[in-house]
Symmetry: C2
Subunit: 200 residues, 2 copies
Amino acid sequence: MAIDPTVSRLIQALRLLPGIGQKTAQRMAFQLLARDRSRQAGVELGESVIHAMKTIRLCDRCRHFTTLPLCNICQHEKRNPALLCIVESSADILAIEQTGFQGYYFVLHGKLSPLDGIGPADIGIPLLKQRLQTEGLQEIILATNATVEGEATAHFIAELIKHSGLLCSRLAYGIPMGGELEYIGGDTLARALTGRSRLD
Amino acid sequence: MAIDPTVSRLIQALRLLPGIGQKTAQRMAFQLLARDRSRQAGVELGESVIHAMKTIRLCDRCRHFTTLPLCNICQHEKRNPALLCIVESSADILAIEQTGFQGYYFVLHGKLSPLDGIGPADIGIPLLKQRLQTEGLQEIILATNATVEGEATAHFIAELIKHSGLLCSRLAYGIPMGGELEYIGGDTLARALTGRSRLD
């Protein structure tokens, strides 16, 4: 009763954003309402979100978010067509692009999770199979996250690829750059030991 | 180039929200786009924000956010008309309402800040003066924040009220409930000592 129903609905709407709780939504709502300029920003935000939700689709080839049938990366002809990097999300593409990687991508938009009812069809495996058969690929890089589900998903895809004659690789696990052994988790350290490489 | 311009605009739009940086905006955008249900939530969010920005105004009497000329609290006739609590933001009203406070409010929507060009007119002082003169008030509670600017604002308003014969009070400063002296800041402890009360 201390709050107008429209303000209350605004706060509830902001809570629809991932990671935003009641207090944060309340602070956002009041800050947006506070000044003419922030209200204008609020209207722009609303319009951008609606426009994006209605026009953004998945690329027909790699499932990256795009407004076109083929995303910018798949349209680019000077990349290495033999290299395919499989990632869990579009955000991972942005991270890998910063390394200067020059191959193409495939986005799962999730990971296998039988308990949540997420099976191979939900993460685009049929489209991936089709690409494996029809494109002149040489190496598949499994770049799923270093989590239990990410590893299970990578293992599932590796099984699919096994008999195709394609080279299949996984990102290296180990000590992050700048990491100090003293503060690194035991599981990471164990993987770093197992995956040690010979210095010549 | 790794990202579609519409996705990029969505991320920039989410950054308009207070406290949201590039990485968080990116994560929000990708999560909203990820599933049909979250896209529907995104459209609802956009519509609610636009509607709120265009319909919410300030209460003519207390400047609390509302869609009506008078807010719910000012319309309520069974509260104590002698008590006026002055706060910095509408969020503060929500916090004080939880204590069971039964007076009315006045919202500054900010605090005096000469360096930012925020003067008395920007925080509604002319309307406040008018209320002090025309309403049968007995006590003004200054409930601005315990910050330098909050205190300066309280001091400015106290000066206004000084010769009106109204009782003027300020929230108590001291140890928060559950606080352990060992971990309390020196300035808080000093205020708690100065403001100590006699046990009879």
